[in-house]
């Protein structure tokens, strides 16, 4: 009975690999080193961040480097990372990006910075620092850095725990291990959940995260979803609620990399349970919902890149439960980002390879 209970704690949703697929994977952008983020402009051209600090505009088969970027502090997992296009780009030409940065602190090292800028030709102008996580540290891991807009025009972005899980994620007075919410001009919304809490970082929207490197807006509910890297096991999918605590490192389904226990607690009152957790870890990166008509069978499904197992994961969710998982683009390489572009197509950023377009055969 006990065994049965454990087995039922999470439905068996072992990942499936279809024997035949009805799509092609077209490599449309080649010669990229480590494409970290992709975003599509209204003209269907692509903005691509290279972790090394390059912003690339891919249009009509040509790659152009965009100038005017602030200096990237390249260290460990940090670099030029997240990229997003303002919902009203057509009128304001504004883009947003995150990078690890050593500015705005006297400490050695770096931390995640969020910028906005106006794209004018091949140049960024009006580059504005909207948020800089503190403090700088030479620790090279867990920068978070994904960006998304919700339907009301708020901007959300993530910062990981910067390798200090016992210091940052549960402390509202400190950055790190958080999802943040801002107005599109960087102002902190007055109704942010901790806006009235003395000493708290007012931009925090949710906390208790480890390293969220996937964020997406649900096409129907408009809710913000994230996933995050767990340690050894315990990668999570979460729906983000204002002021909620996602528990890291107090509760987790993961272990230390060495296999030792972090905590035996997987739940606690006042802390959110993940919508889903992966054991073993897939090392999730990039997140998008399928909302176009090019993939009728996949409509509403969630897509998540797997760095570790080198595929794109297609997830069917019913009533906020994962009911089916399938490999798309099996063995394609380390999938760092996935988007569904405004042209309706799915695009993947794959480390060492480039950008692939998922093109239905029929």
């Amino acid at each position: 009975m006990l065994v049965l209970c454990f087995a039922c704690a999470q439905n068996d949703t072992s990942i499936q690999t279809p024997s035949e697929v009805d799509y092609n994977l077209d490599l449309i952008v080649t010669d990229l080193e480590l494409p970290w983020g992709i975003a599509m402009l209204p003209d269907h051209s692509l903005l691509i961040t290279e972790k090394s600090g390059l912003l690339i505009h891919f249009k009509e088969g040509n790659k152009t480097e965009i100038g005017g970027l602030p200096k990237t502090y390249v260290r460990g997992q940090g670099g030029l990372m997240g990229i997003a296009v303002h919902p009203d780009f057509t009128n304001n030409q504004r883009i947003y990006f995150t990078q690890s940065s050593s500015i705005a602190s006297d400490d050695d090292g770096g931390n995640t910075a969020l910028y906005s800028a106006t794209l004018e030709g091949n140049q960024l102008i009006e580059v504005r620092l909207l948020y800089k996580a503190q403090p700088n540290t030479r620790v090279g891991r867990h920068f978070g850095s994904r960006i998304v807009f919700d339907n009301e025009g708020y901007l959300y972005f993530t910062v990981g725990d910067r390798g200090k899980r016992d210091v940052y994620p549960q402390d509202l007075n400190l950055d790190g291990g958080k999802v943040y919410r801002l107005h599109d001009d960087g102002r902190i919304p007055e109704d942010n959940p901790f806006a009235g809490v003395s000493g708290a970082k007012k931009a925090i929207y949710s906390y208790g995260h480890r390293n969220p490197q996937g964020i997406a807006r649900h096409p129907e509910t408009g809710a913000i979803w994230t996933h995050e890297h767990g340690p050894l096991g315990g990668d999570e999918i979460n729906i983000i609620h204002a002021g909620a605590n996602y528990g890291w490192p107090v509760i987790t389904y993961g272990k230390n990399y060495s296999g030792t226990t972090i905590t035996k607690e997987t739940s606690r009152t006042g802390m959110e349970q993940p919508l889903y957790y992966w054991i073993p870890s897939i090392a999730p990166s990039g997140m998008a919902f399928v909302n176009s008509n090019f993939y009728p069978e996949w409509k509403g499904n969630l897509l998540v890149g797997s760095l570790k197992f080198e595929y794109l994961e297609r997830i069917i969710i019913k009533n906020n439960k994962v009911v089916y998982r399938e490999k798309v683009a099996a063995d394609i390489g380390r999938v760092r980002d996935v988007i569904v572009g405004s042209d309706g197509y799915i695009y993947l950023a794959v480390e060492g390879k480039g950008i692939f377009k998922v093109v239905p055969k029929s």
């Binding site: 080193e33 090394s52 502090y73 460990g76 940090g78 060495s258 380390r334 060492g352």
Partner: protein, 129 residues
């Protein structure tokens, strides 16, 4: 005179176990935990097909290539212990002392041994472009 030459010899005859006692090795372990472990794993065995092993790895016989790859990253096809890999290791942004430290750690852990302490100066020389 005999004594003198012995002292002179010592720096060139450091045993792997002495290197493991060094500050550089200890610092290298910290760097490894932060920057390398996620892919090359705690046991240095890497991940089949994706990330080559560092434990008993023939790639490490080429010290220059080893130090350069730590400093500048590595991409494109390589062969390690007869197995092909084609991944990307992005530059980690380590300074030369950190490169030396983590090289000492990697070269003297998991049964590896390299009987010379890598120094910052050596990293500078080996990685000069």
């Amino acid at each position: 005179m005999k004594c003198f030459s012995l002292i002179l010899m010592i720096p060139f005859m450091a045993l792997s176990q002495d290197i493991r006692q060094s500050e550089s090795y200890a610092n290298g372990r910290v760097v490894y935990e932060d920057f390398c472990k996620l892919c090359h794993m705690t046991n240095g065995k890497g991940v089949p097909k994706a990330f080559p092993p560092l434990a008993n790895s023939d790639y490490l016989e080429d010290i220059k290539a080893t130090v350069k790859s730590i400093k500048y990253g590595l991409s494109g096809p390589i062969v390690v212990n007869g197995v092909k890999y084609n991944s990307v290791m992005a530059p980690m942004g380590l300074d030369d002392q950190e490169v030396a430290d983590v090289a000492n750690y990697i070269l003297n852990t998991w049964g590896n041994s390299y009987e010379e302490l890598i120094t910052r100066q050596m990293v500078q020389k080996l990685t000069a472009k």
